[in-house]
Each structure stands twice: as C-alpha cells, then as structure tokens.
C-alpha cells in the first residue's frame, strides 16, 4: 500500500508543476503594464521602476518564476487590485460559501443518485428504469444556469403563496444576523480579532447555526441553500445515477451472483449486498471526477443566485480584470482538483486491492 501511495504521490508532482507554470504564463499573458494598472496611467517612470523592483518585475522571466513559486510556497497569492485585500483573505471569506454549496450538492447527488441508479438496475427495462434514465439524460443536457433561473422562477414566483416557496437569492433572510459561534460562546470578546481558522469555520452558516443552536438561522440558511444546491447537484446526480445503474447491471452478470442465486439467496439480498458492494467502486471514482462539474456549476450558479462564493468572485475578477484574484482562484481550484483526484485514487486503492497491484 505504501508503495502505491508513494508512486501515486510522485506522479502528481509534474501535474502540480505544470499547473503552476500554466497559471504563471496565464498571468503574464495578460496585456498591459502591471505598474500602470496598479499605480494608474499617469505613474512616472521612476515610480514604475521602483514598483517593478519592489515586485521583482525587473528580473528575467525565470527569476520571476522562482519568486512567484516562493510567494506561493509562503501562501502569498498577491493582492486584489479592486478590493484592496489579499487574495488569501478573500478566499478565506468566500471559500466557505462555495464549499457549503458544493458539499450540499454532492450530498443531494449521492443520496438521490445512487438509490435511483440501483432502482433502475433492479427493475432493469421496466418503466422505472426507462423513466430514470430519460430523466438522467435530460439532467445531463440542461445548462446549469438555465436550470437555476427556472427553479428560482418556480419556487419564488409560481409557488410564492405555498409552503414550498423558497428564496431565490442570498444566503440568509434579510436582517438576520449570523452571530459567529466564538462570540456566542464567549471565546472572543467584542472588538478582539479571532483566529483566522475560527472565522473561516464560522462562515459556514449551516455549521455555525448548528453550533450555536440558533434554529431560526439554521432554517433560513438551509432554505437559502436548497435551490442553488439542487442546481449544482443535478448534473452529478444524473451522472451518478447512470453510473450506478450500469455498474450494478454489470456486477449482476458476474459468476458470483449466479452462485448466490444458485444457493437460493433472496433476490433483494443478492442485488443490494453482493452486487452493490462491487458496483460501488466505479461510482466512487465518478463522485470524485464530478468535482469539475461542481466547480463549473458553482461559478454559474453563484452568478444566478447572487452568492458571493469563489465562483462569483472569479467571475467578477474577470470582468473587472483583477488578475491576481483570477490567478489565485484558478490555482487553488486546479490544485484542489488534483488533490481530490489523488484522494479518490487512494480510496479506490483501499477499496480494490487489484488496483494497487497492477
């Protein structure tokens, strides 16, 4: 196992290096003089020279690359020109929004998708199977942002006077104040600065509401989360349902299933215990691979639902040409992508010894 682990870790290094190079090249490919972009069009040559020297921009490109690598190793992702805050600060504030959204979406996708796929395989070629797969195909073909817009129209306008009405934007009902858990518990007095990690955690509103036992806050946070999470989760849900179905169908054709049938096991036991255990392996991979859809979905969904997560931050940074933010967010997401794929591979190796040995 440790050899598999090491081999897999080493194989991720060139990709991580490549990501660093690509983000570096992307940032350097942007037209315009960074000095004039930051200090203004009328900056003098002297102040520009000083600026370039201070930021290492007068160095040759390879040296600049080393400086860039060193900054990133030190957790310095630069500063947002538009907001005047460090990119790390911005990420710490807005990442929780996206993580909360993506995780809820993933939970919806797995909790609904896996049973649907199992049901479709269990009742292969029945009406349930055809309906589920048709639904899954439509789900995969829908543009995320369109689904978000239609859902918000349905739940905020059509169902307005019913108990099913849901808010179409924001994270909390207006006027509701999410007192962070460290304040409620008296860990931090008014006016003191809490540790960054505490702040980071308190920005997960659902978690914060649970910790503080504030049910009004919890209900508001959850109700605001439902529509965006369904929007982001639909494509992964459809993919997971399809994958579960096909992989369970394949597992049910194996010899050991025939043996189980021959010894007279109940059909339900055969499908759900013997078949499902083996069918789950590819499903785990697919769940990991869906990270890309979650990120892409988050960019579009946050735009539709007015959430200030990293997706929306990225979009705003692009439209306002705030390049340090574009670079930082792209880098973080790509790295998260690599790490998640790595974890999925490792988990897969744990689940299936054949992978490790091959």
């Amino acid at each position: 196992m440790s050899r598999f682990l090491i081999r897999r870790l080493i194989s991720a290094i060139p990709v991580l290096l490549g990501i660093l190079i690509v983000t570096f090249v992307l940032a350097r490919s942007i037209r315009g003089d960074p000095c004039r972009a930051i200090l203004g069009e009328r900056a003098t040559q002297e102040s520009c020279d000083a600026f370039n020297a201070r930021n290492g921009l007068d160095q040759p490109i390879p040296v600049q690359f080393v400086i860039y690598m060193r900054n990133i190793a030190q957790g310095d992702f630069g500063e947002s020109l538009r907001l005047g805050r460090t990119v790390i600060d911005l990420l710490a504030e807005r990442l929780p929004v996206t993580i909360e959204l993506a995780l809820t979406a993933l939970v919806i996708a797995v909790v609904v998708g896996v049973p649907l796929g199992m049901l479709a395989a269990y009742r292969h070629n029945s009406f349930v199977d055809v309906a589920t797969m048709t639904g899954a195909n439509i789900g995969i073909s829908m543009p995320v942002f369109w689904l978000g817009l239609m859902l918000s129209y349905l739940f905020a306008v059509v169902l307005k006077e019913t108990p099913f009405a849901l808010p179409p934007s924001g994270r909390l009902t207006a006027g509701l104040n999410p007192a962070p858990y460290y304040m409620v518990w008296g860990w931090v007095a008014q006016g003191e600065t809490p540790p960054a990690l505490w702040v980071f955690l308190s920005r997960f509103y659902v978690l914060n509401a649970l910790l503080t036992g504030n049910w009004e806050l919890l209900s508001s946070a959850v109700r605001h989360l439902i529509l965006p999470a369904i929007t982001v989760g639909t494509i992964p849900l459809a993919i997971i349902a399809r994958m579960t179905r096909s992989s369970l169908l394949e597992a049910l054709n194996q010899d050991y299933i025939r043996t189980a049938r021959a010894k007279g096991l109940a059909e339900r036991l055969i499908v759900f215990r013997h078949g499902m255990r083996n069918a789950l392996l590819p499903v785990v991979t697919i769940i990991g691979l869906n990270f890309g859809f979650l990120v892409a979905g988050a960019v579009l969904t946050e735009t539709v639902f007015g959430l200030t997560g990293i997706g929306r931050t990225l979009f705003e940074a692009i439209t306002s040409r705030d390049y340090a933010v574009v670079q930082g967010v792209t880098l973080i997401t790509a790295m998260a992508f690599v790490v998640i794929n790595l974890l999925v591979d490792l988990f897969y190796g744990v689940l299936d010894p054949r992978i490790r040995l091959s």
Binding site: N137, P143, W146, F291, V295, T303, R321
Partner: protein, 317 residues
C-alpha cells in the same frame, strides 16, 4: 457452361448458411438503427439541422429587428408574452413572445440554432484534429515524446474545463471566436488521451507489423494503417463532445464572454433575459429548452453509437 453452373449449385448451401453477402458498413448502420437512443438522437439532430438550414424560411421575423406597432410608429412595441391566435390570442402571432427590445423570440431561437450547431461542430473539429494528432504521435513514438505530450494533456485536464476556458477568453478578449478557440483548446486532452490509448494497442497488431515489413514509413503507418482502426471511440466521443461544446459556449456567452449582443446566441439570450426571469419567464424558458433539446440529441446519439459500435465501452462514462 454447364460445368460452371454445377459449380455454382455446389457452393449454394454454404452461401445459404451465411445468408446474403453484405458490406461491413451495412452491419454497422443496421446496428445503429436498431438502437433506440441513437435513432431518437439522430431524429432530434436532423430536426435541429433542418431548423438551422431553413432558419430564414422558418423564422417569422428578422432575428435582430425590433417590432413596431402600426406603420410609422416610432416607439417599438413593449415586451410581450407568447401569443398564439389558435389559443385565443387576438394580437399578431408571436409564438414565443417579444423580448425586452421588441424582437420576436421565436425567430431569435430559430436563428440561434445556426450559431449553436456551428459552435459545436467547429469546436469538435478543431479539438479532434489537434487531439488525434497529439495522441497518434504520442502513442506511436512513445518515449520522451509521449511523456512530454501526455503530461501536458494531464495539466490541461487538471483545470476544470469551464474555468480554463474562462481564463483563456480573459487573455484573448471576449467574443464568440475566442470562446470557440478556448473551448476547443480545453477539449483537446480528451481526444488526445483516447487516441493514444487506442494507438497503444493498435500498433501491436499484425497489420502494422506487416505494413512496417513492407517498408511503410511512420506517416503511412500512423495515418493509413493505425488511424482508421482507432476511429470508433473517437466518433463516439466527438458526438458527445458537440453537446458539451454547445453547453460550454452557452455558459461563456451567459457570463458575457462569448457571443455578444445582438447575436441571437442562446446563452447570450439567457444572459440578456436573466434579470427579467421573474417578470418575463418566457424570455428565459425558450432559449434554455433549445439548448437542452440540441445537447440531448447529441448525447443520445453518442450513447447509442457507443452501444452499437463498441460494446466494450458500454456503460462507461
């Protein structure tokens, strides 16, 4: 003469057992046509193609012209929901209503099919040619060439594709052409990987050894001997890829990075109508249905082709 006919008679029983002779492609077409999802997909795509080709005949109005009430009136008409006389609407017919600039939504959706199909097919053509070339070279030559090429593909795959496309458009500047290029670039790795994987097994085949023994150079081996034999998974992936490209182009346009107003591109129409979703949902509804319908067609055809052409790939993806 009589001896010849006797020979033919002698051969007949075997021929009967084999059934009438058919060209190999007939088998393939038969298998595709027996696949329900391939047929449904094919019908949907043909329908969209007809709409795109006949857009000028089908559209009731010019896609970018605002409507005016009576002749000589200066102010364009206000936004209107769909109006179909057959359902009791007394005003002039607008199947999908008028948008915020008093343009006929139906005509815009119809004309949008041209842009979307053009986008899908161009992107796939670009990604397919570049990706196949990279995959062929990497798989055929192996060694450091393969390492360099495939590791670069891994790096491109490490970025969520929409994110990378956004970054590329940021550098190139917004616009439909740049969006096409960006989506094309991020789609390349899929085809490169697929081609390389197939080439690795195909190059060990005896027909390649035979070609080499006959003195064929690398170009001939790659393009004449190997390429035709690795096409099947590529055809499947390319079909699915058109759908993905249509959706991604729409997403870029929705974010304001792709097609620009007043182009009747579906994503762009959604972007313009976004703020009006609560008051004029028809402006959002129809372009989205058009995207879903087109993408669904390509996805169904791709799935069907996969099942029909390559049973080994069944259930993957």
């Amino acid at each position: 003469m009589s001896s010849t006919s006797r020979n033919v008679v002698a051969l007949k029983p075997t021929e009967d057992l084999l059934g009438p002779r058919r060209a190999p492609w007939r088998d393939t077409v038969g298998r595709i046509l027996r696949n329900r999802s391939a047929v449904v997909g094919l019908i949907m795509i043909s329908f969209m193609l007809l709409v795109a080709v006949g857009a000028d005949l089908i559209a009731t109005h010019a896609p970018n012209e605002p409507m005016f009430g009576k002749p000589g009136e200066v102010a364009p008409l206000p936004r209107k929901p769909p109006c179909v006389p057959a359902f009791g609407c007394t005003e002039p017919m607008h199947l999908m209503g008028l948008d915020q600039n008093a343009r006929d939504v139906f005509s815009r959706v119809v004309h949008g099919s041209r842009l979307s199909l053009f986008v899908g097919i161009t992107v796939v053509a670009f990604a397919l040619s570049v990706g196949v070339l990279i995959g062929l070279v990497a798989g055929f030559f192996g060694g450091w060439v393969e390492d360099v090429l495939m590791r670069s593909m891994d790096v491109l795959l490490a970025f969520p594709s929409l994110l990378l496309a956004i970054a590329i458009v940021t550098i190139l500047g917004p616009g439909l052409q740049n969006a096409l290029l960006a989506i094309g670039i991020v789609s390349v790795p899929v085809y490169a990987r697929l081609t390389r994987a197939s080439v690795l097994s195909a190059k060990e085949m005896e027909y390649v050894t035979a070609g080499r023994a006959l003195g064929a150079g690398p170009m001939r081996l790659m393009f004449v001997n190997i390429l035709p034999n690795v096409l099947t998974p590529l055809i499947v992936q390319a079909t699915l890829g058109v759908g993905t490209a249509v959706i991604e182009a729409a997403a870029l346009s929705f974010l304001g990075l792709g097609a620009q107003p007043p182009d009747p591109e579906w994503g762009q129409m959604l972007s313009e109508a976004r703020a009006l979703v609560f008051t004029a949902p028809h402006l959002v509804f129809f372009p989205g249905i058009a995207i879903t319908f087109t993408v669904l067609g390509f996805n169904l055809l791709g799935d069907g082709l996969r099942d029909a052409l390559d049973p080994r790939l069944r259930g993957t993806n």
